[in-house]
Subunit: 149 residues, 2 copies
């Protein structure tokens, strides 16, 4: 798939990934060792009432699920950034995450004729279809290669 | 440190962390296995001309450096989200990252008297003082506990 395959309104959904307590604590020990991510006793006493996943883990699991669709394999040229990252609900041990995506805008690059830029809104859902996070990156996508006829 | 210790204009800087090629490939194989993060030959042929770090790795290394300051140890109550995530320059093997932070806004919670919300702009710099990424989360911080006199 290339830039042209991601028109405004194009939607897709990813597979599902379950996060265990060990997944959450292991990730947080490396990257986000705040008490409510790594320490069960402290997490019980926190506003969250128990261990929750690092918000960065939620984002990166969602991103991996997105990459695993294969949709961006041929065309991804990276991203200059993303807006409106929101963590709406805690992700708790055993939760199953999946991602729903929709292309919000698309335009050709003004300077480089081989690529376009799409803004995609990603919504991360749990097993109850509750949104737990969302984010809207701009993605630089290669255009469909032109063949000489 | 508590909410009151993060007035608008408060600045701090973190320690430094160097990212090796193995760090970058190892992280990307888990979370962001795009060719320009994991495959040297493909990365050479990509617009980046070699392996670069996943943008998520840049963010999460910066976040870990921030946590390691200890400034948020007593007061962090999580975050509802962040805006204006930007990846401005590639992070390449051997680069040394550090983070410069500044409090952009601060207000007390309207509903919960024990906490406030600060927006902090984080800028991730490499060893040449070049900004490679930035992001601006809202952080919920506990207020200084009141003691009965």
């Amino acid at each position: 798939m290339y830039y042209e395959d991601f028109p405004v309104g194009f939607q897709f959904e990813t597979a599902t990934r379950q996060l265990s307590l060990a997944d959450m604590v292991g990730f947080a020990q490396l990257w986000d060792p705040q008490p409510f991510h790594v320490d069960e006793v402290a997490a019980q006493a926190s506003p969250f009432g128990g261990i929750i996943a690092s918000g960065f883990q939620t984002l990166i699991v969602a991103f991996r699920l997105t990459i695993d669709t294969g949709f961006f394999e041929a065309c991804s040229m990276g991203s200059p950034g993303m807006d409106t990252v929101r963590w709406m609900a805690p992700v708790r041990p055993g939760d199953c995450l999946r991602v729903r995506a929709e292309v919000m805008s698309a335009r050709l690059s003004g300077s480089k004729p081989d690529r376009g830029l799409v803004t995609i809104r990603y919504e991360v859902l749990n097993q109850d279809d509750q949104p737990v996070a969302c984010y809207s990156p701009v993605q630089i996508l290669q255009r469909t290669p032109q063949t000489d006829l």
